[in-house]
Symmetry: C2
Subunit: 105 residues, 2 copies
Amino acid sequence: MHNLDTTFAALSDGTRRAILAQLTHGEARLSDLAAPFDMSQTAVSKHVRVLRDAGLLVVEKRGRTRHCRLNAAVMKEASDWLDNYQTFWTRQFDNLAQVLVGQEE
Amino acid sequence: MHNLDTTFAALSDGTRRAILAQLTHGEARLSDLAAPFDMSQTAVSKHVRVLRDAGLLVVEKRGRTRHCRLNAAVMKEASDWLDNYQTFWTRQFDNLAQVLVGQEE
DNA sequence: GAATTACTGAACCATCTGGTTTACTTTATA
DNA sequence: TATAAAGTAAACCAGATGGTTCAGTAATTC
């Protein structure tokens, strides 16, 4: 799966976003990724699987450890989708500004 | 709720993204929003509620109809979060380019 | 070769999700 | 005033999600 559904769903969990944030500092073993969280390593392993299925990270087996690294390319599709709405949220700020000006009169 | 969890979760459904896309053409009644979909109006109503709870649209009661309009401002937070990774997906393309160049030699 | 480490798989559980149908409220129209 | 239209609420269902524990596998170290 590599569609927007799975990308956004994968990003909708704070633990998973924290994992991705951690990976911006470089690749990490699964046990390293699990350390900061107050949950079992199995749970983190499942989160990593969700991220991997979404294509957001890549897992490489190396000896008995699994090394994860970020694959941010998939995020671009999500970002591109959101970009279509950029004019709308900036326009909304414009409207807000007009409302605020109107209140001053 | 107005956090990234709920924003991304709301965006992780194709029906809901289609509803938001429809609203870029202007406000719409709930029955108009429901028309294109092969599901009950109740189901669409629930989707609209999810989007409203996420702050992605605003519902205004007007007579016996509900008029929905886009509130794209919430998307900006999601977009900002993704922007933090922009360097990583562009860098990844750079790496890919290097790999491709390497293969040519 | 035995013990330890790093992880996965399987079973289980509670809760959430996305859909349904039926019943209801509210507003507009004939 | 009766009827139709627009929408929500409630109950229900199947399947997904996010967590657990326990057992197993594979690689490393003692």
